[in-house]
């Protein structure tokens, strides 16, 4: 991608009082993914990951800049680009529910001008690869969510394109299926495919990617190997406090403490307001007692305190002051 940008023009307001509004979804993004490499795009919901993928696969016209897939411009040669791409878009709604799994793949194989005999063999191989061989002749409407996502995934692999765009390939999958998909992605990398992967699971980006591009509000704010990104926050201590009754005001208060570089609350149970408070601090052990005192005074129930190794989420927190799930 070369300085790719996308601005959506919309109109908001009542029927005779609509006001034009511009939304910049992607802002001057550039990166390269080579053969046998995986680039992970990591960012929260609404960061611009899917818009970027859709521009690269020619579903959306860029406002500025260009993208190249195997040397073909997405703006000037969209059909050539589509020949060289295998794309998995998010969700289970990308299939025909009144067709069987096998019929879906046969249909899409025909759209990619695949020879019938060749596509039959390929379809059998791919269905077996993701454990759907026994359910090949079942209507997709009778598949579970996990099965539909696995079918969507292999649909992207049908014509063995050199470049793969995978938009949240494990979203909605159970841990076992997620592991299977990730293993297949690593195999594809070894076979020389160039893979662009979007995810908001930092563990997935960490495990799979040669490089990770962290995206926030349409811009790439950092890009490097996962180890290098994590190294960039290693100079600070990261304290994880598992707690109940977390209040947003206390997190803002913690940020004012001396030696606290940043603090963010990652609430995973909105009813009990329980989750994790993550604090980046210069001298974590020295500032910890005053942090704990402040939390206790506010009736926040502390269940666990630990010093942890930095993750990609910590990189994101350091760069933006927010969590990936915010």
């Amino acid at each position: 991608m070369q300085s790719l940008s996308k601005v959506f023009e919309t109109k908001e307001g009542r029927i005779f009082n609509r006001v034009a509004k511009s939304i910049t979804a992607v802002d001057g993004v550039s990166f390269t993914v080579s053969e046998g490499e995986i680039l992970g795009l990591l960012g929260p919901n609404g960061a611009g990951k899917t818009t970027m993928i859709k521009m690269l696969c020619t579903l959306i016209q860029p406002t500025a800049g260009d993208g190249f897939v195997n040397g073909f411009s997405v703006v000037k040669k969209p059909e050539k680009v589509r020949e060289n791409l295998g794309v998995m878009l998010t969700g289970e709604r990308t299939l025909y529910w009144k067709l069987t799994g096998k019929e879906n793949l046969e249909y899409f194989a025909a759209l990619y001008h695949m020879d019938r005999k060749e596509s039959a063999k390929r379809i059998e191989y791919l269905l077996d690869l993701v454990g759907l061989k026994d359910r090949a002749d079942t209507f997709v409407e009778n598949y579970s969510t996990g099965m539909r996502i696995r079918l969507s995934f292999v649909k992207a692999l049908l014509h063995n394109a050199p470049v793969l765009l995978l938009d949240e390939p494990t979203l909605g999958l159970d841990p076992q299926s997620s592991r299977l998909i990730r293993e297949i992605i690593l195999e594809l990398k070894k076979k020389g495919h160039a893979i662009l992967l979007t995810t908001h699971y930092m563990e997935e980006a960490d495990q799979l990617s040669d490089s990770v591009a962290i995206i926030d509000r349409g811009k790439i704010i950092a890009m490097a190997a996962p180890s290098a990104l994590k190294q960039s926050v290693k100079s600070s201590d990261i304290v994880e406090i598992e707690a109940r009754n977390i209040q947003p005001e206390i997190v803002e208060r913690l940020k004012t403490f001396t030696d606290v570089l940043d603090a963010v609350a990652l609430v995973n149970d909105s009813a009990a307001h329980s989750g994790v408070i993550k604090i980046h601090a210069d001298k974590g052990k020295e500032v910890l007692p005053s942090i704990l005192q402040a939390l206790v005074r506010r009736d926040i129930g502390i269940t666990k305190v630990s010093f942890v190794e930095p993750t990609l989420e910590d990189v994101f927190i350091e760069l933006t002051g927010r969590g990936l799930r915010d």
Partner: protein, 261 residues
Amino acid sequence: MKELRHYTRYPGNLAFLFATPLMFTFMLSSMGSFVGGPNASQFFFQRTGTTNFFVYQILGSAIWIMTWVVIEDLGSALRNEQIKGTLEQNFLAPINRFLLLVGVALAHIVISALIFLGVIFGTVLVLEPSSLTRLLIAMLTLILGLIPMFGIASVFSGLVIRFKEPYAFTQMVNMIFAIVAGTYYPVSVLPSWVQVVSRSIPQTYVIEDMRLIILFNKSLVDLYGHFIVLGAMAVAYPLLGYYFFKRFERRASVTGDLSKF
């Protein structure tokens, strides 16, 4: 193949399409008898030149249903793909997107032709057995008339991607076509300004010519003027359809509308 599979997996819809021309014709026949009383047949002959009410009406009915299938199904085909979430998947393939629509159109034309064949042949064989040969000749009018209908449907296909209300558009258009194309009466009973609109619709010529061939024994040579007009429509309307489709497709790729529903 995909479209045909979908149709066969919703058999109720197929049965409805077969039954509708017959149901409308029966309804009109009953209305006509009620309104016209004992002289209904005579009045009908005075206005149309034939006493074969049923064949006259079933030809109009069946053509109307065929057009309905082509315009509604094709007009909303892409919209249905949008709602299912499969439109983007189709547009990811390295094929001309208009040709994708052509493929869908062909499937629906085959389906609607089967409806026509089933209903018309059945009716004509029973009520006008001597006109079977004429019916086969009249099929040429139908085949030529389907090409501009595809063009009209392509315009709607583009419009519905933009405005996302396929059924409102296509149903309105189908009802307007039913009124102005002389589905159940000769076009000559309509006001002259409406007849101008009638003459811009391919369906009008198809219905009129099929009646003239089957019921009044006209030949293709007698109707060469209509064939010239249908031929011109067969060129112009698909080109218009292509233009509108590409225009709305381009707009959808700028606004990101392909995935919205």
